[in-house]
């Protein structure tokens, strides 16, 4: 019983598309997140002087503090974008598959 459902899903034309596109999107997002995070950590570990500069004349806030705040925002923005993709692209594909199989 379980096997026939699995086979039905596998034969569904949209299943391969769903898996491929979702895997690609999540891998791209993961790579970007890793790049931002490791960029931040590597900079503070190996080039602390970059982060030590003030963001402009007359400012106390340093490049590092501002970057840190932006990095916090970037995490939330990336997650929101991913959810947007999922709702717009993957969920409709998934609904079609589930409707046809069950």
């Amino acid at each position: 019983m379980q096997d026939t459902i699995v086979e039905k899903v596998l034969k569904h034309p949209k299943y391969a598309e769903l898996v491929q596109r979702r895997t690609r999107v999540s891998m791209v997002f993961f790579a970007v997140a890793l790049a931002i995070y490791s960029g931040f950590i590597l900079t503070l570990a190996y080039m602390p002087e970059v982060f030590a500069q003030p963001i402009g004349a007359g400012w106390t806030m340093s490049v590092g503090v501002l970057t840190g705040i932006l990095v916090v925002f970037s995490a939330v923005i990336m997650i929101s974008l991913y959810v947007y993709f999922s709702n717009k692209i993957f969920d409709p594909l998934l609904e079609d598959i589930v409707k046809d199989v069950e």
Partner: protein
């Protein structure tokens, strides 16, 4: 139910003389905390009636919404340690406190892009269900339970000791009594109300904490005419480190590999913390799991931004109040060493400075509530590891009944509660600072690689996952034990054996490599079957067809 009401009455009776005896407690803090206890007891009573099956007990019957779950996860994450700890770190060294916050936060993109939805589609109660989906039950459950229980024990001890000391300061209670109160409340929530009560306690506390933090940060910014840079300028002016506050400190740049290693453990550890992963099974579908992550990460990110303001605000404003210090020097040079209660109390003193004793009382009460709520979540994850993994699936090999498993999980809750209190008392004067770091390192080096590879790599076999997981676990633990934080600071040896305290940069790749190596060399018939089963796993993880939902039983 009678027994439950009795224990509440006992608890409050027993709390009264202690509050009165020390006499230095903040009355508004005590009133607000008692209101919190009363409210959560009503919730527990309500939840107890809904907690009949193991599904109710472990996952609130799968009936939590994505938004509620996001709040609960944020609540689990913003523990007293991370709120007071990060604010305290910013108070001490400015920028370096931000590094921790970002590391904790970046666990969330990892969880979202690699595990959250698939986890929900594949498991029932905890992440061991997922790793055991196509791999062999016994070794995978034993591995997951060992790593989980170790992580939970470390986390519990760190929370209990930190909490006990905090409560001594905030409420003027005796250390042992505060530890016993935390343990008893936690046992009541979990024992009677299971995941439903634990989740709602966490949600309420998260809302209170977000509100309190927002108010505190707003009052700080208001003192600087809503100009954050003016606040930073003042902080740099009064702090002994001066402009170095704005830059990565010597602790980081002096040992870049250690910073990198810590960063890896923080970012990948989240996706391996049993009490966090368990929350994904309280929602009904992968879509709700996704919503949980977006809400959780938004709240956590927002709260960390507040924490930065609170930390820098504490530097700028506290020195205007010599009464918070034991002998503050005229040039503030000793503002780090003389702060009453230590630097972790920076946020608490700040609330008194900008909001008076009412805000102080509120923050103290919320902090106490936080500790109880986090500890309850940990105990529940521990009970699941013992009853669901070790008892139902390993010892009884799936032949136990629902009733038996439920009984074992309740007994486990009580045992864990008593153990937490005892360990809290035993470790009172020990240095427990390394424990949360070690918990994250184990989560990142044992649970995370096994979880990710078992759901996303066809070639992963039981042999590879077991050897790799245990190697990661053993390596991370041994490294930390031989490092300065334990080998020197706890055991009193002269020289550390590990070159730096954080193992992540070696232990995480080691676990991945070992899983890969021992999987590809696995030529057994079982391995062939496990690789074939990957197709069915992918169908289920991608579509959710056949997953266990809220109406499972």
């Amino acid at each position: 139910m009678k027994k439950f009401l009795l224990s509440t009455a006992l608890l409050s009776l027993f709390a009264q003389p202690a509050f009165a005896a020390t006499g230095q407690a903040n009355t508004s803090a005590i009133v607000m905390f008692l209101v919190f206890i009363a409210g959560t007891m009503v919730i527990t009573w309500w939840a107890a009636r809904k907690t009949q099956t193991t599904s109710d007990f472990y996952t609130a019957g799968g009936g939590i919404t994505g938004f509620q779950n996001g709040l609960a996860i944020a609540g689990d994450y913003i523990s007293a340690a991370s709120f007071l700890g990060i604010a305290g770190m910013v108070y001490v060294s400015g920028f370096d406190g931000i590094i921790y916050a970002i590391g904790f936060l970046f666990g969330w993109p990892v969880v979202m892009f690699l595990v959250a939805e698939r986890l929900r589609n594949l498991g029932r109660f905890n992440f061991a269900d997922v790793t055991a989906f196509r791999l062999e039950q016994t070794p995978m459950r034993v591995l997951a339970a060992s790593a989980s229980l170790l992580i939970i024990a470390l986390y519990l001890i760190a929370q209990m000791v930190g909490a006990g000391k905090l409560i001594v300061l905030l409420f003027g209670l005796e250390y042992k009594i505060s530890v016993i109160i935390i343990g008893s409340l936690m046992m009541i929530y979990v024992f009677f109300g299971g995941m439903t009560a634990t989740t709602w306690v966490q949600i309420i506390k998260a809302v209170l904490m977000l509100a309190g933090g927002t108010l505190l940060a707003a009052l700080v910014l208001m003192a600087f005419n809503w100009n954050p840079d003016a606040m930073l300028a003042e902080a740099v002016k009064v702090h002994p480190s001066g402009t170095e506050l704005m830059a990565p400190g010597a602790g980081v740049s002096g040992n870049p590999l250690n910073a990198l290693s810590l960063g890896l453990a923080l970012a990948f550890g989240t996706a391996g913390l049993p009490h966090i992963l368990m929350r994904f099974f309280t929602v009904s579908s992968a879509k709700e799991a996704r919503k949980s992550v977006i809400w959780a990460s938004s709240f956590i990110g927002y709260f960390y931004l507040l924490t930065f303001i609170i930390g820098f605000g504490a530097i700028a404003l506290l020195v205007r109040h010599p009464e918070f210090y034991s002998g503050l020097a005229g040039d503030n040079s000793n503002m780090l060493t003389t702060l009453i209660g230590g630097t972790n109390m920076a946020a608490v003193h700040l609330s008194n400075a900008v909001g008076g004793s009412l805000l102080l009382g509120f923050l103290a009460a919320v902090t106490f509530a936080t500790i109880v709520a986090v500890v309850a979540g940990l105990a529940l994850a521990g009970a699941a590891a013992i009853a669901h993994d070790l008892y139902a699936n390993v010892i009884a090999r799936g032949r136990s009944t629902e009733k038996q498993e439920m009984r074992i999980s309740k007994i486990s809750t009580l045992v864990l509660g008593v153990l937490a209190v005892l360990l809290g008392i035993v470790f009172e004067d020990q240095n427990v600072a390394f424990m949360v770091g070690l918990a994250f390192a184990i989560a990142a080096s044992a649970n995370f690689p096994v979880l990710v590879l078992s759901i996303s790599w066809r070639g992963c076999t039981t042999r590879g996952a077991t050897i790799g997981g245990f190697l990661g676990l053993a390596f991370a633990t041994l490294w930390v034990v031989l490092s300065k934080t334990v080998w020197v600071d706890v055991f009193g040896n002269a020289e550390p054996i590990s070159p730096f305290p954080n193992p992540g940069i070696f232990s995480i790749p080691l676990a991945f490599f070992a899983i890969w190596f021992f999987s590809v060399t696995d030529k057994s018939a079982r391995a062939v079957k496990e690789r074939d089963a990957f197709t069915a796993l992918t169908v289920r993880s991608q579509t959710g067809i056949g997953r266990s939902g809220a109406q499972d039983h």
